[in-house]
Amino acid sequence: MRITDTLKFSLSTFRGSPARTFLMLLAMSIGVTSVVALTALGEGARRYVTDEFSSLGTSLLIVIPGRTETTGGSPSLFIGETPRDLTLDDARALLRYSSIRQVAPLNIGSAPVSWKQREREAPVIGTTAEFLTIRHWEMAQGSFLPAGDPESAGSVCVIGQNIRNELFGASSALGEWIRIGDRRFRVIGVLQSAGRSIGIDSQDLVIIPVASAQALFNTSSLFRIFVEAKDRDELSRVEALVIKTIKERHQGEEDITVVSQNAVLATFDKIFRALTLTVAGIASVSLAVAGVLIMNVMLVSVSQRTPEIGLLKALGAPDRQILVLFLTEAAMLSLFGALIGLILGELGIWVMILLYPSFPLTAPIWAVVSAVSVALLTGLVFGALPARRAAKLEPVQALSRR
């Protein structure tokens, strides 16, 4: 029997029982739709989170004072031993390496910010000019903190959009003097409202030179040091360098923690990938259910079409031919079902994109390919038993059934 005739014959059986065909297609397409749509969601969540982190810069290291490590030993040993503070000099010491592009010290605190009669509490960040490029922020108006000696405590500040709106309303903020805590600063720039940002919302920030912040909060220590490596691939080498340098400066005490953006990113990536796989696994249960349905309906079909099978045998169809006919039927049903499922799934994704435009949704290719091939496979596996049963029918008995 020619392949085209085999396909045509299977098609004729679908015409022969449209309701049965529709139900099988429905079951299969629901399975494939759920795999495609759910993996798209999982994958979307993963991409959303990794994009968030990437926006922070992937060649970034963050130096945190204190060592996050549990060590054994007698507690009395640690009495009187506080971790040394990170200082501006520590930050500056890192700059001498060629593999480090830039360094931004960071100090953070909260202070009342006021202009004329308006006042509000706002997070205040002390940093240097480099912070702008490290965080990939952009200016809406004016300029960021001037580059120069981090030790010089200039009386200038950059404010976020929300602060600008709340303090100044419709009037211009640039060049105005605002009061932060007990000091006065001139506004030299307004931050662009960043699309996304993890951690502190840049729109509520007030940014002043790091030395001014140290004076304002009366401290000589830093909250963080941001280190950007020149080359992403050298990140681990730079990390070792940072630890070694600061250890030397801290009398041989390794009392800092260095967090690399990549490590965090990789962890999240892994978590979400596992999540997507889990969801795909759960969704593919519905594929298996569809397979069972196909088997059930095919078994009914075999017993309904017993006389026809007997006839085909009498007309000279070998057992193998009958097997192929029924397997073709199962395969075509699952393939058509899978294709309908793909279309429905993509349609669902499209609707979700319309509802949540900022969420990056696409069904990953591996999910599409595996959903279709799993559908085909279940069709064949679950179609095998009915097909074998049909092939093994005794022609005389098959013909005598009416």
Binding site: R2, F9, S12, P307, G310, L311, K313, A317, P318, P395
Partner: protein
């Protein structure tokens, strides 16, 4: 052409063994017109099924065109059925979802013939059966006589050497039954071998050679005196 030697067919029904055929020997030459008659349960249908390779004898030998077909594999038997044997059934056995033409085409499709060639043959055979205008009707849109003619067209389209008919008129009224018998007899005139199983004496006596079966054995084998 057909030679059966000491054919036995035993069915296991529960604990009991039923001898459907017992020591049956038969020789049929090419072009013969043969009827097998007998009461129901006499084994005449079983004999026909064995001749048609739908059933295998429990014992004995069956030569078709001097070849021992009981030694053939399942696949080879199917091929032999396809090429040498045409079946006509009491209940027509047309595939309900296919048109008359598609039903007739089935053996050619199974044989893997090219579509262009098939169409030609199908319409020729249906014309010859006098139902060319019914080609694209489904079985349910055809009368009993027409259905049986479609079935005969299907049985003859591969130009087999033998036609096996099991009660071909059993489900038809007298008029269309007569038509069907005449069509079958025309096939004999064209050189085909025809074996008809029936318990209708009127039909059976039309055959040149008449075999009577009782309890799984052939009890008489007579030639009609013309």
């Amino acid at each position: 052409m057909i030679q059966l030697d000491h054919i036995e067919r035993v069915f296991q029904v529960g604990d009991q063994k039923v001898h459907a055929l017992h020591d049956v020997g038969l020789k049929v030459e090419r072009g013969e017109y043969l009827s097998i008659m007998g009461p129901s349960g006499s084994g005449k249908s079983t004999l026909l099924n064995i001749i048609g390779l739908l059933d295998r004898p429990s014992d004995g030998q069956y030569f078709l065109d001097d070849k021992d077909v009981s030694l053939l594999t399942e696949k080879e038997q199917a091929k032999t059925r396809r090429e040498k044997i045409g079946f006509v059934f009491q209940f027509f056995h047309l595939v309900p979802r296919l048109t008359a033409a598609e039903n007739v085409e089935l053996p050619l499709v199974l044989a893997g013939m090219m579509p262009g060639e098939r169409k030609q043959k199908v319409s020729e055979v249906l014309q010859a059966m006098g139902i060319g205008d019914r080609m694209h009707h489904r079985p349910e849109q055809l009368s009993g006589g027409q259905r049986q003619r479609v079935a005969i067209a299907r049985a003859t389209i591969m130009q087999p050497t033998v036609i096996l008919a099991d009660e071909p008129t059993g489900n038809l009224d007298r008029a269309s039954g007569k038509e069907v018998v005449e069509i079958l007899e025309r096939l004999v005139d064209n050189g085909l071998t025809l074996v008809v199983v029936t318990h209708d004496p009127e039909l059976g006596q039309r055959a040149k050679r008449q075999i009577k079966m009782v309890d799984g054995s052939i009890v008489s084998d007579t030639l009609r005196s013309v």
